[in-house]
Symmetry: C2
Subunit: 324 residues, 2 copies
């Protein structure tokens, strides 16, 4: 149980200071002693002098990003991985993080321990250190956690940088993430770091709100994306979702959020066949799809055009966070 | 009104992307263009090479840290100042921040604009740049914001570092903050930076959970604090609170949270009279109180001892964040 009526197992029973001590012990290997870690007013970061620093922040809220069907460990690791996906989307490597925990007094301590167990395991896998944080109250039955992650990058790949003619790629497969993948995904860190080193990679981002919404961010001014519909990698779970939703699998692939795949462009002058070989050599087990090409804006002003039919594609909206 | 039944004035009416554009325009002068600012997967930080970097995170939740009696601008500036107080407590200067916004779909846009107006004004005053963030949903009627602030420091002053015999000081006056000061306080940045440069300052922190709880963090192993009760700077609002609470003003000065003053120690070998002169020269308008001295642990194991009577002081608990 995430929230408890048994006061002995509620975070309110032990209070903030003891809770912070427990969190410290739960995090074990992925913390640092103060002043580099938890325990002072701020954490002191010894940053690398080469390259640039990058920073991202992302939250995880009960009822929004996970529900009672998700175990605490998976919720904890999802919080870390959401942020790692943003680091991957810049071609960076993660370093340090701070964690703000907001919870009702009835949050169960054993649930929270399992949550931090998931955080610890994920931080060990990806070499992240949790160096500080904050604990704060919410109304009973509520839980949010916000992680701010700092990483480093040698060559930054931005969302902006693509030009008309550039080839558009996605990793993995898309859609239906809500069935499973929104919890069990792998942030594409190695792939992002590799792409950052490819001189012909012109723009890079991760897919979190759906291809239909996210691809727009890569489009240069007065351009559109000509999509090869046949090449959209539809996930099996998008097919499953379509069975129950009554919508097309392709719509799920375009519009569902939380794919956590990479979306990027390669210079028009590069050969897709050559790029496919380079990719295959480095990542033989991760599917790569050339889904289209950037083009001059169409007469009708459509954002996405079907290459085959020259018609506008109907999917232009992704996941909206603030809708009721 | 913070939350609205008028859908046109709710954040859900405009959606996340348009909301982020508005936030960008509200923040105006205190943002940077991407990739140094809002707009890509991460923000790129150009850090100074001298000194160390420090990081802190703090949250602000409706119903916990402010209520309907607090105007939106003041709530926004409180979020920034809470974090600035942590930077001050390390003797640092603020640089960059990222902001995670968690809100119900019924949050009123005009309230949020005023909230960001308070953030902007405060960031202008203290030279903070908001370089990124995240927007995420909560259940209707709920609002939290989490700020992670990165600063820099030449000489770090930690909580640990005090020794037995050191003099204990606080700035300003204590207690009754809930009446007014928890909103209208000044983070002690200049004072913290000045203290960081004083070779005889041995430990430094800010007071957020009450003197009774926070002072314990400065105590070296097997020590206690001998307190000169007459020198505790009781705030006028602690007297006001005592009138209605039935507790002693001194208890409010010791145990109330959110003073946002500095608590620090000066080497035993330094002359308090000389230190008072140095302080007065730099900060003639901010009260400084020498409230006691660190001493060997007492027989009874008490944390705080009244210098005059040699008796243990009864106030050992501060503000607890997770109690119902």
């Amino acid at each position: 149980m995430m929230f408890t009526k048994n006061n002995q197992n509620a975070v309110s029973a032990i209070g903030e200071q003891a809770l912070i001590q427990r969190i410290n012990s739960w995090l074990q290997s992925v913390t640092l002693p103060p002043p580099q870690g938890i325990g002072d007013d701020c954490a002191v970061i010894h940053h690398k002098t080469a390259g640039s620093q990058i920073i991202t922040t992302d939250s995880l809220t009960y009822g929004q990003h996970f529900d009672a069907s998700v175990c605490a460990q998976d919720a904890g690791s999802k919080l870390i991985k959401r942020n790692l996906s943003d680091i991957a989307a810049m071609g960076g490597a993660p370093d340090h993080a701070v964690l703000a925990l907001l919870c009702g007094p009835d949050l169960a301590i054993d649930w929270l321990e399992a949550f931090f167990c998931g955080i610890r395991a994920c931080c060990e896998t990806y070499a992240v250190k949790i160096v500080g944080g904050d604990v704060s109250g919410l109304a009973p039955g509520h839980f949010s956690a916000v992680l701010t992650l700092i990483g480093s990058v040698e060559t930054t790949k931005l969302r902006t940088g693509a030009a008309i003619g550039d080839w558009i790629y996605v990793t993995g497969s898309l859609g239906g993430s809500i069935l499973e993948k929104h919890i069990h995904f792998t942030p594409r860190l190695k792939e992002g770091q590799w792409l950052a080193k490819q001189p012909d990679c012109s723009a890079l981002m991760d897919l979190t709100d759906g291809l239909a919404k996210d691809l727009e961010a890569l489009l240069p001014h007065q351009s559109c994306a000509r999509i090869d519909i046949q090449q959209i990698p539809i996930a099996e779970d998008a097919l499953k979702r379509a069975n129950s939703s009554g919508r097309m699998p392709m719509e799920h692939a375009f519009c569902d959020g939380e794919d956590y795949e990479l979306l990027f462009t390669i210079n028009a002058s590069s050969s897709p066949a050559d790029f496919a070989r380079r990719w295959q050599h480095s990542f033989p087990h991760l599917r790569l799809s050339l889904i289209g090409q950037l083009a001059e804006a169409s007469d009708k002003g459509a954002t996405y055009i079907d290459q085959a039919s020259n018609e506008a594609l109907p999917w232009v909206h992704g996941f909206e966070h603030l809708k009721e």
